[in-house]
Symmetry: C2
Subunit: 364 residues, 2 copies
């Protein structure tokens, strides 16, 4: 596939990962007439139930990867917690979008911040941490409270550690697992927004309208569109995402989470997180836009034209986390709401089980 | 499942038929967290590619039917050209919606017209035909031109025969295959509309807004919403569909095609065809409504609440028939349009390959 030859319907899209994002991408691909082949390690993989084919194997199973690469026309991934090596090997055999560079940077919190800084973008004050001594020194320089996070994804979930006083640093270092990390000051932001940006291989971009996001206990709770931020803030946010996408030579849908610090047109935007994939804060697009983020991503990686992200409705997306999903009979009856369930067989606290889009006529 | 216990997410919906309607139903079911199991004879079955499981077997394979019935929680069908016997056997083992009665009547053009007439509904002047002599007699009584159609579906496609002069009847009888038939006068209608009606097992109904349909060479070409007919005509059309659905004790989405004869509020409505399933003239609902006809059907057969069929946009659906689909690169680039392709591997003249919904903001 060259950049000016779109992948014809009937081609097979390979998706790494079998979770809900893979499932929603697989459906979008099927609606365009593509076949889908999921590659995922054993486990609860709801994406497999809506795909034409599936390979269940370890991320580093070379034979399985080669067979998979041979069976598909293009590869994408539904999340960034995949060994870089997996994507690197596949990329030697078949086109992979987004590229391995985007994956590598999104997996490395330090590289993410370094890149943002090198592009002249704002981030929360931070310091790289490789030892307890580093952390003790940083806790003096940075404004507390601060958050210590392991540098790379893929370490088993030690989570994030809040540091409120300089004397907490030794314990925080132990809790995070004494692994390379990043510490950053907690920012007093007014609100959080995100940009859901599609970029084609020809460099064209399309940005959906900006959602405003609320998190609860570290998990996205709601995304509301339009966001209650000035138009100019939305425009600056999109420009930031475009800058990042261009720097990564990105193909596909990219999500950039941003903190809005301060009020009005002069508010500052700080890059919080870059996700090289469709994003939970874009799930509202399925019911408020003609073309969803999932279709937009499939179009981008297939070399199809990227449509204007026309939005016909206002919307609030609410995640159904863990036991929330048990309210499905009431949610299914709610007027003006569309329920999405992911077909996961096991409910666990904190697990994303579905979402609800509450839609109203567009006001402007 | 009783009428007041909705089928929980994670249950398995069995679908008879593997074509595009099965595919679109399977996707809608997956979006609600259901698993889907397709039953279809060997062939090009695009629905299988988006389903969790599939049984490929003949319609009358008793063992396969029993295994299928055992694997699913409820059964529906994507088209009416299935042996009544298949549905009758399944209904002894598992709930089937719509019921076998609706299927039987929709398969029998004479029974369809008899039922409509017995409900006091208008139909084109018609006569049952069991012999060449019947046809000769009818050609004298009915206004010509008239159309001769085999009475039952499932006879191999002798199609429909136009009778323009009384002396054409012997040849017409031969062409239709000398099988039980119905002849009906061709109606000089102003336009064609259809009702896409959902009915739950509790008797509640929901009607989508009325589309106006254009056919070309006997195949649906476009459906436009809103239809250019007076409001009162739409209301009467919905009342007709509700009457039919109640008479059939119907559960699921039912489509009723109607001729509008004459002008204005006093136009007459004639029942043309009843389809016990989601319908091509309802494909616009996917992109102009919060909940599509496909989700509405799945909800009805699963005993879920039926939402108001809120329409947020105006729309024209255009079918992509045969080689039309080769225009996909241009169609995929059209602003304000959403392309749907069915993943069929073989293009044939007259074959439905996809559709395009051209969407504009709702005007009223």
């Amino acid at each position: 596939m060259t950049s000016d030859t779109p992948l014809p319907p009937g081609s097979t899209i390979g998706i790494l990962g079998g979770g809900q994002l893979g499932r929603l991408l697989a459906i979008a691909a099927a609606e365009l007439g593509f076949s889908v082949h999921i590659f995922a390690p054993a486990g609860d993989n709801p994406a497999i139930g809506v795909a034409e084919a599936a390979t269940v194997a370890d991320w580093l199973d070379e034979t399985a990867l080669a067979v998979f690469a041979n069976a598909v026309d293009v590869v994408t991934y539904e999340f960034e917690n995949i060994p870089e090596e997996t994507v690197r090997r596949l990329a030697e055999m078949v086109s992979v979008y987004p590229g391995v560079n985007a994956l590598a940077i999104a997996q490395d919190r330090l590289a993410e911040k370094t890149m943002a800084t090198s592009l002249g973008l704002g981030v929360a004050p931070y310091a790289p941490i490789d030892s307890a001594a580093d952390l003790a020194a940083a806790a003096v320089k940075l404004t507390l409270p601060a958050i210590l996070k392991s540098r790379w994804l893929g370490y088993d979930g030690k989570g994030q550690v809040l540091i409120e006083r300089p004397e907490d640093t030794d314990e925080a270092w132990r809790i995070v697992g004494a692994v390379p990390a990043v510490v950053e000051s907690r920012v007093a932001f007014r609100t959080e927004i995100s940009v859901i940006l599609a970029r084609g291989s020809n460099g064209e971009t399309r940005a959906f309208d900006i959602p405003e996001n609320r998190h609860e206990r570290g998990i996205l709770s709601t995304s509301t569109v339009p966001a209650a931020v000035p138009v100019v803030i939305g425009e600056r946010a999109i420009a930031i995402a475009e800058q990042i996408a261009a720097a990564l030579d990105y193909v596909g849908v990219l999500a950039v989470e941003l903190f809005v610090v301060g009020e009005g047109d002069s508010a500052e935007l700080l890059v919080n997180e870059i996700a090289p994939r469709v994003h939970n804060s874009g799930h509202w697009t399925s019911d408020a836009c003609l073309v969803s983020q999932f279709e937009m991503h499939i179009r981008a990686i297939a070399g199809w034209p990227l449509p204007d992200p026309i939005r016909h409705s206002d919307v609030t997306m609410t995640n159904l986390i863990g036991a929330d999903v048990e309210g499905w009979p009431e949610l299914a009856a709610e007027r003006g709401a569309r329920l999405h369930l992911y077909g996961k067989s096991i409910v666990r606290p904190g697990r994303k089980m579905g979402h609800l889009n509450r839609v109203t006529p567009r006001r402007n």
